[in-house]
């Protein structure tokens, strides 16, 4: 049980010291109740109380746009050099839903063939979690998937205890940082305060859809032809907001770009979305998921069915971003409830 304490008035010093060692990113208020992970150098810039950021921290692990390699066709035989840049950095204030998201991505990108760009970055990123003592807003469904409590995936984990934070040390790297910063060990009184926070959460966080999560795989197994999908299809704009903001969506597109010298160039990848009409279209003009209803259904199955079969875990982390961002009011909780209601 390795817990330490940092007083609130020491917190600014902590962030400043950390920022001297490496780039530090944390949630920052963007106005209109929107937040984004951005570089900070002091605690004053950080929004400690925030609803999930516009983009999840996955943007640091798999950037929106990323150069994979440079190539040169000048000589007879083409040359290429992989681009494996991964600067050391820390992300502060990652909520448990987003920690779960990173854990999901770790599983995906560690599968063979391994994604070296992702793995290299992951090794260089120091993750500091931050507990939600209560709900961020009514769109979250973290209790449904059990991601409202910390479940690893961090170097350090902060819980607010009023005038101080209690830190759980998750890794060797975390241990070293705590030692260097000279943070005091948590007292038994601090530990009971933490227990009280966790106890309070048991009541504050309740299954948001009133459906046993153990029943979801079965509900989805039977739900392929549900009219729920047709309804979503009629409303969906196909803007791809829901997948772009999802902490576990990882689909990307890759393309080669040549420079104007027509000899050198680069291979780049960018986030793609299964909600786009072009996503599942193939040579010959066929499209496997031509209709919006099919594409929305696919998104839900990629959270609640397929990853359970493959990785034995839900790829919905309950962050609620897809609901918040949807232009057409497509609501994840309502969709699940409607689907479950059909199989009562």
């Amino acid at each position: 049980m390795n817990y330490h304490i940092i007083m609130k008035d020491e917190f600014d010093g902590f962030i400043k010291k950390l920022a001297k060692k490496m780039k530090v990113c944390a949630p920052v208020a963007k106005g209109h109740n929107n937040f984004a992970f951005e570089e900070v150098t002091s605690a004053g810039e950080i929004a400690l109380s925030y609803i999930p950021t516009i983009l999840p921290p996955k943007k640091y692990f798999m950037p929106q746009r990323e150069k994979m390699l440079d190539f040169d066709l000048t000589e007879g035989k083409p040359k290429d050099a992989a681009n494996l840049e991964a600067p050391e950095m820390a992300i502060f204030g990652v909520h448990t839903c987003d920690l779960a998201g990173i854990q999901c991505l770790n599983m995906v990108f560690s599968e063979k063939p391994r994604d070296y760009n992702y793995i290299l970055r992951k090794e260089k990123i120091f993750i500091i979690g931050l507990e939600c003592n209560g709900y961020c807003d009514g769109h979250a469904s973290c209790a449904l998937v059990g991601s409202h409590y910390p479940n690893g995936g961090y170097d350090l984990f902060f819980t607010d205890l009023g005038d101080k934070f209690i830190l759980h040390v998750g890794t060797q790297k975390g241990e070293e940082l705590v030692e260097k910063m000279g943070l005091a060990k948590a007292s038994p009184a601090d530990m009971s305060a933490l227990d009280r926070v966790r106890e309070g959460k048991k009541h504050a966080f309740q299954n948001e859809i009133g459906v046993d999560p153990k029943k979801l795989p079965e509900i989805f197994a039977k739900g392929m032809d549900s009219k729920v999908w047709k309804d979503l299809g009629e409303r969906c704009v196909s803007c791809g907001n829901c997948t772009n903001v999802c902490p576990t969506c990882y689909c990307f597109d890759m393309a080669d770009t040549i420079n104007l010298d027509m000899k050198t160039g680069s291979r780049n990848r960018a986030w793609d979305s299964c909600q786009f009409e072009t996503f599942a279209s193939v040579a010959g003009g066929e499209n496997f998921r031509h209709e919006r209803a099919e594409r929305q259904r696919h998104r839900f199955y990629r959270k609640f069915k397929y990853p359970l079969d493959k990785f034995y875990r839900s790829f919905c982390t309950g962050c609620g971003r897809c609901t918040r961002t949807c232009m057409a009011k497509i609501n994840l909780k309502d969709t699940l409830k409607a689907l479950a209601a059909e199989h009562k």
């Binding site: 409303r235 704009v237 770009t257 104007l260 010298d261 232009m327 497509i330």
Partner: protein, 261 residues
Amino acid sequence: MKTEKKSVQIAAKPKVAFFDFASCEGCQLQITNLGEGLLDILGAIDVVEFREAISEKWDKDYDVVLIEGSIGDHHAEERLKKIRARAKVLIAYGACACTGGVNGMKNSFELDEIRASVYGKDYKLFDSTATKAVHQVVKVDYSINGCPIYAPELVEVLKCALRGLPYTVPDNPVCSECKLNENVCMYERGVSCLGPWTKAGCNSWCVNNGNICYGCRGEVKNPAKNANDVISKYNLKPELIKAKFDMYNKCKEADNNGNRK
């Protein structure tokens, strides 16, 4: 395959000409404003006509022509057809050329009515037709949408043209790029924005700089059939959205949404 043939035909340093029709010539300005990037372009092409930048003329065939502006009278139609006849590859650039642009607003009125309002009682002395996008008059090989064009896209299209490769204007809504840029959604700010219905490819240029999307790149091929949820979520009037779209997209009514195969 046609495209391969084109690349063979293009000489080592292709002869490229820029022409303008009914437009503000702002897209040409975007090219001259490219700065150092322009030097890279000039390293790859030989500019033989470009009214805004050089005074030389060219009397032989063109490898590539870039057409700015919409077509609004018979003279322009004839002139465009003649240019097309001399060009191996034709690139329409800018909203006026690609979708008719703001000039398309003329098509919202009875032609004679709008002519009389602009030219007075002797309006018949001034030739004028309904506004057409370039592809509604001649075959277009590449399109660079936008008002003005997004310069990085021009460079990409030019490279495709020089290599004889196809270029597809992205058919996802602007939101898809806007979200990647992590902008606070304009709707969250209480402002209506045409991003959800407009073709991406501009890297959400306007929203990145605090403006809304005006739909200058044209509507996506398959826009949401039922926008009522979007409209009700943000308390919008459908007529407002439609009127906003008309600013840049009036010409699409003359063809299938400005899409060609």
